[in-house]
Subunit: 211 residues, 2 copies
DNA sequence: ACCCCTCTAGAACGAACGCTCTATCCAGCA
DNA sequence: TGCTGGATAGAGCGTTCGTTCTAGAGGGGT
């Protein structure tokens, strides 16, 4: 299994030819990414620590070295990783058009495209991980709530910049994120981009109605 | 543990004073209800067959007698149960107001009230069960897709009856269900009714914009 | 009286779970 | 050169998992 000797900072691996797309990253980062991807697809309970360590090309010892809090701490970090990932995509989409309604439409299309590209496997990285653990693990629920809040904040700021009233922007941000969330869920289960495309059009229409 | 001797039809239990709200029901029905409730709160992987049988006051033998397909068959049936349950609530709400926009607003309020009443434990009965099992269990995914389709159908018919164009009704039904779904998810994680109440208002506004 | 069939009952199986533990490796420093 | 501490390595703990299996309970039909 031998991995790169490393000290938490990403460095090139000059001795390991075959590896996944995460090769050359620090062990800790590889573990977080593997956890995020696996929990996104299989949920918290459906993903084992040993599977994560295997997928990350790390050993069980490394996992517990970096995450002494065990599975829950790892899941919290995985959610934060998914949070940052989706926030980046959302920010890009929102800045891609001068008009906020068109920007939201573009965001929905982007989500749909990525979902299809993953063969309907990669839904919302936060939902799958946090669902079913809300009651037991408050830390996980909190991280998920913060993710949603951050995404809402991005939409909110975008609407404010476009001249929307503060209250309208706040409420629209709620519905934009929630509708995208629900539509992605349905799209994943139905294996169809349509729910997301419809959601994009309806959200654009809703936003326009506040002008 | 002794349970009611019964032949699949619900009958009164004259000998068992202390029991849950499902007492007096047939064993099979008790098992389905326990599975549905537990999976709604803990997800598919987070819920064990033994926990279900314990909660249902049934034995492992009974579970495998009624559901020889094992956990997957049981989960499929649990989703169908949640489907019928939510469909009933949705139908009631949709028929509670003469105006379809107001009816959707009422539905959102009802979902919010029930979610809060359960101490934020009972989210969508279909989502939690089906998430994380989409790839592995096609039967479960299919049952979930059918549930969403049924709910959409209820909204669709309601809009048609109110005179909306077929295409508008179809697309609005998509977004109504998806937005409620996403808002309920956010409401559960944030422990706040607000996302659902905002969703209700926005959906009413969106529907009105098609008149 | 007998059988039959549905349903209940729970012990037992191998596998996988999260986690603990000790041992080893190795770069950096004294 | 030897020490130190972060990082790696994986055997093994007790528990729980989904499932299988055999045994018995009990009412109806003949």
């Amino acid at each position: 299994m031998k991995t790169t000797p490393e000290h938490d900072s990403p460095e090139q691996d000059h001795d390991e030819p075959a590896a996944g797309p995460d090769a050359g990253l620090g062990t800790r980062e590889r573990i977080v990414r593997a956890a995020s991807r696996l929990m996104q697809r299989q949920g918290y309970e459906g993903t084992g620590i040993k599977q994560i360590s295997r997928e990350a090309n790390a050993t069980l010892g490394s996992v517990y070295h970096f995450f002494p809090g065990g599975k829950q701490e790892l899941a919290t970090e995985a959610i934060r990783h998914g949070d940052r990932e989706f926030a980046g995509m959302l920010r890009t989409a929102l800045e891609s058009r001068p008009d906020p309604a068109e920007a939201v439409l573009a965001a929905a299309g982007l989500v749909a495209a990525e979902l299809r590209a993953s063969d309907w496997l990669d839904g919302c990285p936060v939902t799958a991980t946090s669902l079913g653990t809300a009651a037991n693990a408050p830390g996980i629920r909190l991280a998920a709530a913060e993710a949603f809040e951050r995404w809402r904040g991005l939409v909110h700021d975008r609407l404010l910049a476009a001249g929307f009233a503060a209250q309208d922007a706040r409420e629209l941000a709620h519905t934009v994120i929630n509708t995208l969330e629900g539509a992605e869920l349905t799209a994943q289960i139905a294996r169809s981009e349509e729910p997301l495309l419809i959601a994009g059009r309806h959200l654009a229409r809703l936003i326009d109605s506040y002008r």
